[in-house]
């Protein structure tokens, strides 16, 4: 069993134009083990993607306080590729498109990244598994030969993220809004791929706005994030509850002073 632990995490980002830094995460605490599925829900602009990118090690995000630990070892200061090789995977909301590199050679390079130089994965073993995964994800064979995400539709990109997940087999996968832009059919396929991975040695952290995804990938724990913090944790029923009350309802119930980006009425009963 592996454990991913986030302790009192504070994160700032610098605005690219004004160079001013702004604190996005204001003390996140979260512990998850392999074998568990967690979901983080929350309104827009609350720091969910910041959390996932920071765990993965995106250099644009600056940790100002707290720690991220994998099996007791701090990941701060380790670059993204080391974290990936340590067992973290982030299915990205906006995967990069790279012309001239085929999906196939990229995934082979990724698999070989955690193997010794003199022991690359045999090509036949690799292809056999790839075929199996392509089938699970309803992807055509030519996906392997296409350039990495180049000209992929939104749905194809999401599936391609899951294909990579299934190929690389990390300890922990963070799925950043894997459901956005997917129709029900595609969502089911993506969920099938993730569920296929279920094992005592694999943990999932899903980030989503909607409860819908959780119908297909069942969480053990649901965390609600608002204003850069986790404000409530519960089981799967918390998501259903949220669907009924909305984030504003929960905010008011908890008495939080948090603006909701997509809300017309500011916090604090008509506010400032």
């Amino acid at each position: 069993m592996a454990t991913l632990q986030i302790k009192d995490l504070h994160v700032s980002v610098a605005d690219e134009e004004t160079k001013k830094t702004k604190e996005i995460l204001k003390g996140v605490n979260l512990t998850m083990n392999t074998g568990e599925t967690h979901a983080i829900m929350g309104p827009n602009g609350t720091g969910k993607s910041t959390l996932s990118e920071t765990i993965m090690g995106n250099p644009k995000y600056l940790v100002t306080q707290g720690d991220i630990m994998l099996d007791g070892t701090s990941l701060l200061g380790k670059p993204v590729d080391e974290r990936a090789r340590a067992g973290l995977f982030l299915a990205m909301q906006y995967p990069a498109e790279i012309k001239g590199i085929t999906n196939l050679e990229f995934m082979r390079a990724a698999v070989n990244a955690t193997r010794p130089d003199n022991d690359p994965i045999p090509i036949r073993t690799f292809l056999k598994e790839l075929d199996k995964n392509l089938e699970i994800l309803n992807m055509s064979d030519d996906m392997a030969e296409r350039y990495l995400n180049e000209g992929f539709s939104g749905g194809e990109k999401k599936r391609n993220e899951i294909l990579q997940l299934m190929t690389i087999k990390p300890k922990f996968a963070i799925l950043d809004e894997i459901d956005s832009g997917l129709d029900i059919d595609a969502l089911q396929v993506v969920a099938k791929g993730v569920n296929q991975m279920a094992s005592p040695n694999f943990g999932v952290l899903m980030i989503t706005h909607y409860q819908r995804l959780l119908n297909y990938i069942h969480p053990d724990q649901v965390h609600v994030m608002m204003g850069g913090k986790i404000v409530k944790t519960g089981n799967a029923s918390l998501a259903t509850e949220l669907e009924a009350t909305g984030y504003a309802g929960l905010r008011d119930e908890l008495g939080l002073d948090v603006d909701l980006v997509d809300e017309d009425v500011p916090a604090g009963n008509g506010g400032r």
């Binding site: 993965m56 090690g57 995106n58 250099p59 670059p79 993204v80 590729d81 990936a84 090789r85 995977f89 982030l90 990205m92 995967p95 990069a96 790279i98 012309k99 001239g100 590199i101 050679e105 990229f106 995934m107 390079a109 990724a110 990244a113 955690t114 350039y147 990495l148 990579q164 690389i168």
Partner: protein, 430 residues
């Protein structure tokens, strides 16, 4: 403009360069070139300052080493022709091709056995002796090379592979000349592989003339990986008659400083060339590549596609020149030159130059000088790839548009391995 430097070349060099029992015409050609060396200017490579390079530091009394190491023998497998400096390692043309009248031999043999043919084409159509100081030097001091002649209507399926190794185990002069004549309606592929053995700091002068007669089709590939201590001048020139076509694929993967001129003269109407180049500069090296298409013929078409990668503190300049001569009605000239810098200290440049003297033509260009996309790097590294592996993938992807177009699969594979090796070595010096 580059001012002519005074130059004192030892007259012994002219004697040293001679093949045995040279025919009178060749002696005359050399002497004519020799006389002009001092009055001609060095060729101009925009944005490259190569004045201080020891390109003309020839050795007056070179020592010949006649041993051919095992590595060269084994490398020569798969090549029909192989040479090490002035030594001919092998010439091996199938009986079938010989029976069809195909000629493949070293230049020293060609001037005797096929003197009339060589005389008709050497420095006659493609390259002129007096274009600049370096063309004159190549003519005067040529001391090795290859002659390939494919007669009219002969089609050859398998590529003809030439391995020409510069011998830098000791000080010496490498002035190599390859003459390729494609008879009317002939079709064939050629690979020229150039490398260096040893690390004496010698210059390399490599020239290729391809005369493509009416209706012929030549696919010419070159893979250059000259040594780090070699300063090189490389000149490859095509002369295309009516409806002839040359497809060039050139990998400039030298480790030393290089200036290169790749030109196609579209003389005949309907002639066509595709000139594709990949270049990588690493460490502290400078490489400047001028690629020029000159449309003389009506409805001639020339396209240039170049991709370059830079690492370390290196420099790489692509000058793409599209020239359309008055009277070349309906000519087409397109070019695309792009360089990608993987290092903040590298200096890349891509300059398209269009010189058009006719109205009803189509000409265009695209050029860019870019740095590696950090979002792409982050994405690749987020899957566990080290920075070095991710960089090489991005680099390969960037070159992919040229690589995927290489007509001969073996050449493509060889090019990819050479690129990989060059990138790995380049990253090692960062």
């Amino acid at each position: 403009m580059l001012k002519t430097m005074t130059l004192e070349l030892d007259p012994d060099l002219l004697k040293q360069a001679r093949f045995s029992n040279e025919p009178h015409w060749l002696k005359a050609l050399r002497e004519n070139a020799w006389k002009q060396i001092n009055s001609l200017e060095m060729p101009i490579f925009a944005k490259i300052n190569y004045h201080a390079w020891p390109l003309l530091d020839f050795v007056s009394h070179p020592v010949f080493n006649v041993t051919i190491p095992e590595s060269v023998w084994s490398e020569s497998n798969g090549y029909q022709f192989a040479s090490l400096g002035q030594l001919v390692v092998k010439t091996e043309l199938s009986e079938e091709l010989t029976a069809k009248g195909v000629i493949l031999c070293d230049m020293g043999t060609a001037i005797h056995q096929y003197g009339d043919l060589v005389h008709d084409f050497l420095f006659h159509q493609a390259v002129q002796i007096d274009e600049n100081r370096l063309t004159a030097v190549s003519a005067a001091l040529m001391n090795g090379g290859t002659f390939l002649y494919v007669p009219k209507n002969v089609e050859i399926d398998d590529p003809i592979n030439l391995l020409q190794i510069q011998d830098s185990r000791q000080p010496g002069n490498f002035v190599n000349h390859t003459l390729i004549v494609a008879g009317e309606n002939s079709q064939f592929q050629v690979l020229q592989r150039s490398s260096t053995l040893g690390d004496e700091p010698n210059a390399a002068h490599i020239m290729v003339e391809i005369v493509a007669q009416s209706g012929s089709r030549v696919k010419f590939s070159a893979l250059d990986s000259l040594g780090q201590t070699t300063h090189s001048y490389i000149n490859r020139r095509g002369y295309l008659e009516k409806d002839a076509r040359i497809d060039w694929t050139v990998g400039v993967l030298n480790d030393g400083n290089t200036i290169a001129d790749f030109d196609s003269n579209l003389v005949g109407s309907g002639s066509h060339t595709e000139m594709q180049t990949v270049a990588i500069s690493t460490d502290r090296q400078t490489q400047g590549i001028d690629t020029q298409v000159t449309n003389y013929g009506r409805h001639s078409e020339g396209n240039i596609l170049q991709r370059g990668i830079l690492l370390g503190r290196s420099a790489l300049v692509f000058n793409g020149i599209g020239k359309i001569i008055k009277g070349a009605h309906g000519a087409k000239a397109q070019q695309e030159n792009r360089v990608l810098m993987l290092s903040p200290k590298a200096r890349g440049d891509a300059n398209p130059i269009l010189l058009i003297d006719e109205n009803d033509v189509i000409a265009g260009h695209a050029a860019s000088v870019g740095r590696i996309n950090q979002d792409q790097m982050y994405y690749l590294m987020s899957r566990g790839l080290t920075k070095e592996v991710a960089q090489r993938l991005v680099a390969r992807g960037f070159l992919g548009v040229v690589l995927s177009d290489i007509p001969v699969p073996e050449v493509r594979q060889q090019m990819i391995s050479l690129i990989e090796r060059k990138l790995i070595n380049g990253q090692g010096t960062e």
